[in-house]
Symmetry: C2
Subunit: 201 residues, 2 copies
């Protein structure tokens, strides 16, 4: 039985090696510019063998997709230490923004690159968990008198939209020229403007 176990471990290791190579190239060059042959040659492997470990290119992509969401979600949950719900709400947006800044490539992979439509399976579940987390914090705010008369779901969607809008404009690098400031500053000031508007108890 220990032989089977070692086998399994070796298989996991190869799985990881491929994923490491894929992560490097995917985050560097994006989806289309990453080829199975690139991933394979990076680890001196044959392209065909990749298919022994992954169904196809998309499955590798979704593995990284999930990785990104797990990373984001863990950072979102870290703000639970903040007691004041509105402060927690504010921090949650900053987590998003900082994530887009520090992990621009993941952000692209998670929100911008992947094809329209359903992000299936586990990846979708984690994304949903992230939304529910935001919704929960907003609910806490509302219990304490913030956002009076506003629907929780729509507020959640709107918050998500505003922050995602900020991040995706940043990641796609649209708007340099009109907004001569560097993107990082613009994001923060844009977010502060948003918070200034929403901050009425």
């Amino acid at each position: 039985m220990s032989i089977a176990k070692r086998k399994e471990q070796e298989k996991l290791e190869m799985h990881k090696r491929i994923l490491d190579s894929a992560r490097k190239i995917f985050l560097e060059k994006g989806y289309e510019q990453t080829s199975i042959r690139n991933i394979a040659s990076e680890i001196n492997y044959s392209p065909g063998s990749i298919y022994f470990y992954f169904k196809d290119k998309n499955e590798i992509f979704h593995e990284l997709h999930k990785e990104g969401f797990r990373l984001l979600l863990s950072q979102m949950k870290a703000v639970n230490t903040i007691e004041n719900p509105f402060e927690r709400y504010k921090a949650l947006g900053l987590v998003f923004i900082r994530f887009a800044q520090n992990h621009t490539d993941y952000y692209n992979l998670m929100f911008l690159v992947s094809e329209t439509g359903k992000v299936q399976g586990e990846g979708f579940q984690i994304a949903q968990e992230a939304i529910e987390h935001l919704s929960g914090v907003i609910h806490l705010c509302q219990e304490q008198g913030w956002f009076k008369g506003l629907n929780n779901k729509y507020l959640t969607f709107m918050t998500l939209s505003a922050v995602h809008g900020i991040c995706s404009l940043y990641c796609k690098d649209r708007m340099a020229g009109f907004f001569e400031k560097p993107g990082e500053e613009l994001m923060i000031h844009g977010y502060e403007t948003f918070i200034a508007l929403i901050d009425k108890k």
Copy 2:
């Protein structure tokens, strides 16, 4: 001279034929799923000949990109008939949202598909014009007492982010499942929530 003129016209016609074919396929299948061979065969043309009229696939894409922006900008300018500046501001957001709904494929092409970084040349100029238009309307609002104490540029960026966030989440079809409502309703309610927040004179 009339021969040269007819020649030029014929060239323009071929240019248009290719663009028409490209538009159809690009808007239907997106960037990557559109091939030069597809575009050519659609009009019983040889793939190589495309390169007599366009530098490469990207140049065709950017032509459509510009088309989309011209269309959006014309609809943005149509709200100038509204006298009240805040009403005009509100309508501007709705123009965006309706554009994303009615021309989802263009929206994808314009904001989501194209590669990170500079959208060069004329296309960039039109995008800039659109931003300046929004900024101008916000300026009018501020002259009449809205958005007190808020920086025009940041407010412009934030508005753009919020609306673009709504539209891009819609276009990428993220969030079905958590927000069980159809995307169109969600967009409108999300936008109304945004307006409810920002509406303080």
